[in-house]
Symmetry: C2
Subunit: 222 residues, 2 copies
DNA sequence: TATACTAAGTGTACAATGAACACTAACTAC
DNA sequence: GTAGTTAGTGTTCATTGTACACTTAGTATA
């Protein structure tokens, strides 16, 4: 590695986040409204500059916590975008992360629907600043891919849930219908689920057993 | 995204490459000897600072071509490493790439065994500068994983090859033995291989059909 | 209080895929 | 011409994935 530190004026380094949740049967992503140029008043993914003594992951986590108030969420590095003209004012490269948050864990998210932060359906969002459309597209692709071979979807579920809710979550992410019996067989066979003993008595129908995840990492995360 | 460009002194941005090849039945990675501090005389992955009007991928490709003289190789972004203390002198974040080159495509690689560039077996290499040990480990992990669900191994094969050579290549990468008949069935079933019509007559045994890849992209690359 | 409505919960048969396994063919060397 | 070496080829069995329909347990309401 060349260590001639003075050779080039160094680019800016930011992190940007695709923070996903699911609400009303739609996969949604957090967008914030820009308050300054460039792209004034455009929507963008939340992000920020990397601080001095901060790792990339810490920076991403900082932005995440600032915007959501939530800790202890699933997050992973997505990709680093560095096209020379991606920011019209200066050379800026951005390390993109994606994160998953259960809708239930967001603090009164409806009250956040003030003008500068909101949740948009991923397939129906406004024009985005910078190359954020591309970043979002890549994040959705990664999420959909991982949903089919890992248990990443767990990151979107509340503490306790019915199996039918879990199935619906999978269906929303992979955008396809699943067979109920096969789904249940497969999920229970993983050994990652645990009956809570409680039942969900809402609705005019047979009550459902509530499940939770056994405490462990999300598998196959890399 | 915060665009207060003047807020922080910006870190340096480099690219580093894990360039793999296979020779003498060993997976090898290119290492270069550092000619300056820090880590003077340590071995490291080849890399360099990002230039002004250059995309990250162009920078990686530039380093790759400088070091190998080879174009038209498989390369993908691996991960971005940004721990605050990874470079003892200044804040530097690095975007790591990995690349695959068939040994046959390297120009007289033996003559490169001058003191500052060589190929080391990935499981038997000297102490590396910076966090390059971690980067290399991550790259090997990614390569091994992808070998089992994609045709990424193609990137290591010469133009024409015997099926037994392809099998050996897989075995080296995944570090396990494969069944000959099942392997051939599976490979031919992909439809990605084409007989060249030529036979390899070397050796005191039945000659082998030579194959080539149909001209197309490596699939499942992301 | 009986009937309609709704989502929960359950098993089996068939197809597709993956894994194990051994002999014959075609050449060279001696 | 005999020994040595790698190329090339199918079948059986186990495992996994897929398709598919009825009964159960509650609520709502007539």
């Amino acid at each position: 590695m060349n260590t001639n530190y003075e050779a080039y004026e160094q680019p800016g380094v930011t992190v940007d986040l695709a923070i996903f949740t699911v609400n009303k049967n739609k996969l949604k992503v957090m967008l914030v409204k820009r308050a300054e140029a460039p792209f004034l008043d455009f929507w963008s993914l939340p992000g920020g500059f990397l601080m001095h003594r901060e790792s990339l992951e810490d920076a991403a986590y900082r932005v995440l916590t600032e915007k959501t108030g939530v800790k202890d969420v699933y997050m992973e590095q997505l990709y680093t975008f560095g096209a020379p003209e991606r920011d019209p004012r200066a050379r800026v490269i951005t390390v993109a992360y994606f994160a998953l948050i259960p809708w239930e864990n967001l603090n009164q998210p409806e009250s956040n629907k003030i003008k500068d932060l909101t949740w948009y359906s991923v397939d129906q969002h406004p024009k985005l600043a910078f190359d954020h459309k591309e970043i979002l597209k890549y994040a959705v692709k990664r999420l959909r891919a991982k949903a089919s071979y890992s248990n990443i979807v767990y990151g979107l579920m509340p503490e306790h849930f019915r199996l039918s809710e879990l199935q619906t979550m999978y269906e929303i992410i992979i955008n396809d219908k699943l067979d109920k019996r096969n789904f249940r067989k497969r999920m229970l066979a993983t050994g990652l689920l645990q009956e809570t003993g409680e039942k969900d008595l809402t609705g005019a129908h047979r009550p459902a057993m509530l499940y939770q995840f056994k405490k462990m990492e999300i598998t196959f995360s890399n």
